[in-house]
């Protein structure tokens, strides 16, 4: 095909040093927003707990020791919570893990400590523009820059991702639900020779056929009347048999 169809999915193909291509499924801004919210709640909860603990320490010892520890933990949580979790073995903060995401290099490998530092320190820039709540003096980071960058780049990268050369992907690649066929069909050789794309379309149809209703299957195979020479259930069975033939002979 001289002009391949534009891609509709969020899969990115990456070639590894081993010479093989893998597919990574990019995570969009919405699901990353959910993960961020969960992390925000966790960080808030930790800070609350730590504050209460150190307040008690200050109360008992009548010293400002507790205030110091509180400031220190505030500093570490706000700057290193994401860094340490993303550098860790799972490659994801608890929020990202809950959303089944992880941070990787474009090759799919785990990120280095330096990359974790860059992508998370850049959050400060990604969080712009801040929304000022009039009167209260509260400033809420809107993450507008991050969203804009995500929408303008092919791989949903915010500024921190661009600078650190990292991607946020789904931990497990998307697996279309497939239902194995109970009865073995008789193989049927396609009446014309098919291109590679057409062959894989037939096989993918048959892999997923179990997840659709009979009507839907027939509706789809009716388009293949020129290949099968039949419509309705007969046509559908013929397509399934051809897929079976392709499996056995290709």
């Amino acid at each position: 095909m001289p002009n391949p169809l534009p891609k509709l999915d969020t899969l990115q193909t990456v070639e590894l040093a081993e010479g093989v291509e893998i597919r990574l499924r990019m995570a969009g801004p919405l699901i990353r927003g959910y993960a961020f919210m969960i992390d925000l709640l966790i960080k808030g909860a930790i800070l609350m707990g730590v504050s209460m603990l150190f307040e008690m320490v200050s109360f008992i010892s009548a010293d400002t020791f507790g205030v110091g520890l509180m400031l220190l933990s505030w500093f570490f949580i706000s700057w290193f919570y994401h860094v340490l979790f993303e550098y860790g073995k799972k490659g994801a903060t608890p929020g990202k893990r809950a959303m089944k995401l992880r941070v990787v290099q474009p090759s799919g490998a785990s990120i280095t400590f330096g990359q974790a530092v860059i992508r998370n320190f850049m959050r400060f820039a990604d969080a712009f523009p801040s929304i000022m709540i009039p009167g209260g003096g509260m400033v809420i980071p809107s993450y507008g820059f991050a969203l804009t960058a995500c929408l303008l780049t092919k791989r949903f990268q915010r500024l921190g991702d661009l600078a650190a050369n990292t991607l946020v992907v789904y931990d497990r690649p998307y697996m279309p639900p497939g239902v194995p066929r109970e009865t073995k069909l008789k193989a049927l050789r396609p009446s014309v020779s098919l291109s590679k794309e057409e062959e894989s379309a037939l096989i993918n149809f048959d892999d997923r056929a179990g997840t659709w209703s009979q009507e839907r299957r027939v509706e789809l195979t009716d388009y293949l009347v020129s290949l099968t020479g039949a419509t309705g259930a007969t046509g559908m069975n013929k397509v399934a048999s051809m897929a079976q033939w392709l499996r056995e002979n290709r």
Binding site: L16, A17, E18, G19, V20, E21, I22, R23, L24, D63, T64, F65, V67, G68, L69, M70, L71, L72, W74, F75, S78, W79, K89, S107, G108, A109, S110, T112, F113, G114, V117, I118, F121, M122, R123, F124, A125, F128, L159, L162, A163, A164, N165, R172, P173, Y174, M175, P176, G178, K196, E199, S200, I203, N204, D207, R208, R247, E248, N249, R250
Partner: protein, 321 residues
């Protein structure tokens, strides 16, 4: 070979590989992993074959996942060692700062010029400083460095040394990180924070000359000023490396330049955080001690001389890396 025989022949190998990876994910792996690389390459081969022969989503997806999991184990970054960190501080870091001497001066002057303007302006016209510090800023400056009684321990009313040390970490290291992060906005954020700090610190110094006890102020800042100011300038270099990657990518395209800029700015981020942490230690535990100002000035001067010598001479004998 068709899809079914392919799957039947190779399935045991995939299962073995998957089990081995599960085991490696554990805290203390128990299985012998010496043939993991061999298995990994073999699974890579299977994936390539399956993709080429279009064996369908199910099989290709499964192999794809196996290869990604294997890749993560085969290509993980080596851990940093103490020796590496020492070498970084003793040799690489001063070398890198010398190499970026242009950006060093850009950042230094971005801070120094507004600082000097504000500081000197206090001798002629105090209203600039007054409007910058505001009423609350002036009150707190007077409380800290006022003429009242120089013998009073500075920390008596401002909390313990440890608390102040934590405060300086929280505040000053954070400022360094912000200076760095602001760089990605074309360097504007970096320059903004440097100029802002120059204005604010210059105004404070000018106000002390005007209304407080300069000796109290300068003997307080003498000890940690070298580490803190140079740390801030180095955070500025880190930010400007990012900024220059956006503004002037050279022969690279912008996204590659940004990645390169990010990598090259990291040593400066680490160095700035290190220097500013040292400054917080000194500021927390030394600067406010009731010690004669002459000793504080001597120590402060020695720190400045030491730090300048470090950046001028350390690591000269080693080849640049």
């Amino acid at each position: 070979m068709n899809r079914n025989t392919f799957e039947i022949t190779n399935r045991p190998k995939w299962q073995e590989f998957s089990l081995l990876l599960d085991d490696q994910d554990k805290r203390s792996p128990t299985m012998d992993a010496t043939h993991l690389p061999h298995l990994f390459r073999s699974v890579c081969n299977d994936l390539a074959l399956a993709e080429h022969r279009r064996y369908g989503h199910q099989l290709c997806g499964e192999l794809n996942e196996l290869v990604i999991r294997g890749y993560k184990h085969m290509h993980s970054a080596p851990a940093t060692s103490w020796a590496g960190m020492t070498y970084f501080l003793a040799v690489q870091f001063p070398q890198l700062v010398r190499k970026e001497w242009k950006l060093f001066w850009v950042c230094t002057l971005s801070f120094l010029i507004p600082y000097l303007i504000l500081w000197i302006s206090g001798r002629y016209e105090i209203s600039w400083i007054q409007s910058i510090l505001g009423a609350s800023g002036m009150t707190s400056m007077s409380e800290m460095y006022g003429d009242t009684d120089t013998s009073v321990h500075l920390r008596a009313e401002y909390g313990s040394n440890f608390m102040m040390f934590c405060f300086y970490i929280w505040n000053n290291v954070r400022i360094d990180f912000q200076i760095f992060a602001g760089g990605i906005l074309g360097g504007v954020g970096t320059i903004f924070f440097l100029v802002f700090n120059g204005i604010h610190i210059g105004a404070s110094a000018g106000y002390v000359d005007y209304a407080c006890s300069p000796e109290k102020f300068y003997s307080f800042v003498a000890g940690h000023s070298s580490f803190e100011l140079i740390g801030m300038v180095i955070a500025g270099i880190a930010g400007m490396k990012m900024g220059m990657a956006v503004l002037h990518p050279g022969r690279l395209n912008r996204s590659d330049a940004l990645i390169k800029g990010g990598k090259e700015s990291l040593p400066f981020v680490y160095g700035a955080a290190f220097l500013t942490t040292l400054a917080a230690v000194i500021e927390g535990f030394w600067s406010a001690q009731p010690i004669a100002p002459s000793i504080k000035y001597t120590v402060g001067g020695a720190f400045w001389a030491l730090l300048i010598a470090y950046f001028l001479f350390a690591g000269r004998r080693y080849r640049a890396t």
